[in-house]
């Protein structure tokens, strides 16, 4: 019985302890070596559409409840890029805010009708615990985001 207990603890410890890294990897470890500036992508997003890129920046916002997206600061003032990951597959912690990250993913276009934009804003407010003005007018929007494959977030 003592052997069984010892073996179980050792096995659990070996499996749960992540390998030593300069940060924490979420999803797949980024493989690209060259980073593309967020500002470069957002200046001409159509030319990067469906391309796999590596971007870097400070994590400025994280989905509070599900950790299913993060907002990465651009190298250009007042600009961010949203990184969306599959729910439950990659879960970013709220504690990642303010940390440097490199994220690999595919650039994608998100086209929303006015109703969809309203629903997204409502869900965003709900997730972040923010007030939502249900009387506000919404217009159709086109945005660009990264479909995240993997990220390395500095500790």
């Amino acid at each position: 019985m003592r052997f069984l207990l010892t073996a179980t603890i050792l096995l659990a410890a070996a499996g749960c302890r992540p390998a030593e890294t300069p940060g924490t990897v979420y999803g797949e470890r980024p493989t690209l070596s060259d980073t593309t500036l967020v500002s470069t992508i957002l200046t001409d997003p159509e030319s990067y559409l469906d391309q796999r890129v590596l971007v870097a920046g400070t994590v400025v916002e994280v989905c509070e409840k599900r950790g299913c997206w993060l907002q990465l600061a651009s190298d250009r003032e007042f600009e961010t890029m949203r990184v969306k990951v599959e729910d439950g597959v990659i879960i970013f912690p709220m504690t990642a805010r303010g940390h440097q990250a490199v994220v690999e993913g595919v650039v994608e276009k998100v086209v929303l009708s006015a109703d969809e934009a309203r629903e997204q804003a409502r869900m965003h407010a709900e997730e972040q615990g923010l007030p939502f003005d249900s009387t506000a007018a919404f217009e159709p929007t086109t945005t660009y985001q990264l479909r995240g494959i993997g990220a390395l977030i500095a500790d």
Binding site: G15, C16, P18, T58, F78, T95, R97, G98, H99, G129
Partner: protein, 184 residues
């Protein structure tokens, strides 16, 4: 009968093995079920405080953010800053953020703390660990299946599967179908 003896031994011992993890999944399961009403992993505390009239220049790093944090009664250490727009600044501190709106002269302090027990339970339940834990969770799921099946045959007679047990098992099977019929 010999097989029933082994069935009951299996049911008993698997039950003992699963007890701890079942509690983890129960606690996390209920917490995550109500994710629309609250944040099951983090305790987020938000408060606002007035700040003296400021400009972006007043808050320029490296000194400005620290000075403001002290004015708000916080330690002056901060990780980094970000400008969401021309009238505001976000300061990242150890446990959260401080958003300063120059236009309204208001700071929103958000302190985030992981819920100690629930955070750990959700970490396991939602498989944040991946790696070996995925296999452990699969093994637990199989064990739960075995627990359910062996549980059907623990008793014989009127209270067993040929009596009351049949009715209770049937109810358990029908319940999910009722909800599927209602909601799908």
């Amino acid at each position: 009968m010999q097989w029933r003896r082994w069935n009951n031994i299996l049911h008993r011992d698997i039950g003992y093995l699963c007890a701890g993890l079942t509690v983890v999944y129960v606690v996390s399961g209920v917490a995550v079920n109500h994710i629309h009403q609250w944040n099951p992993t983090y305790h987020v505390e938000r408060r606002t405080a007035p700040v003296a009239p400021l400009t972006a220049a007043d808050l320029a790093p490296p000194v400005g953010p620290g000075r403001l944090l002290m004015q708000l009664g916080l330690t002056p250490d901060y990780r980094t800053t970000f400008r969401p727009d021309s009238t505001s600044l976000r300061i990242f501190v150890e446990d959260g953020t401080v958003d300063v709106d120059f236009a309204t002269g208001e700071a929103t302090i958000e302190i985030v703390r992981e819920r100690p027990v629930l955070g750990a339970a959700n970490f396991l339940h939602l498989n944040h660990a991946k790696q070996l834990w995925t296999w452990m969770a699969d093994l637990y799921a199989v064990a739960l299946g075995l627990l359910a099946v062996t549980g059907l045959f623990v008793l014989k007679g009127k209270k067993g599967l040929t009596g009351r047990g049949a009715w209770l098992t049937a109810i358990g099977v029908v319940v999910p179908f009722v909800f599927l019929w209602i909601y799908r």
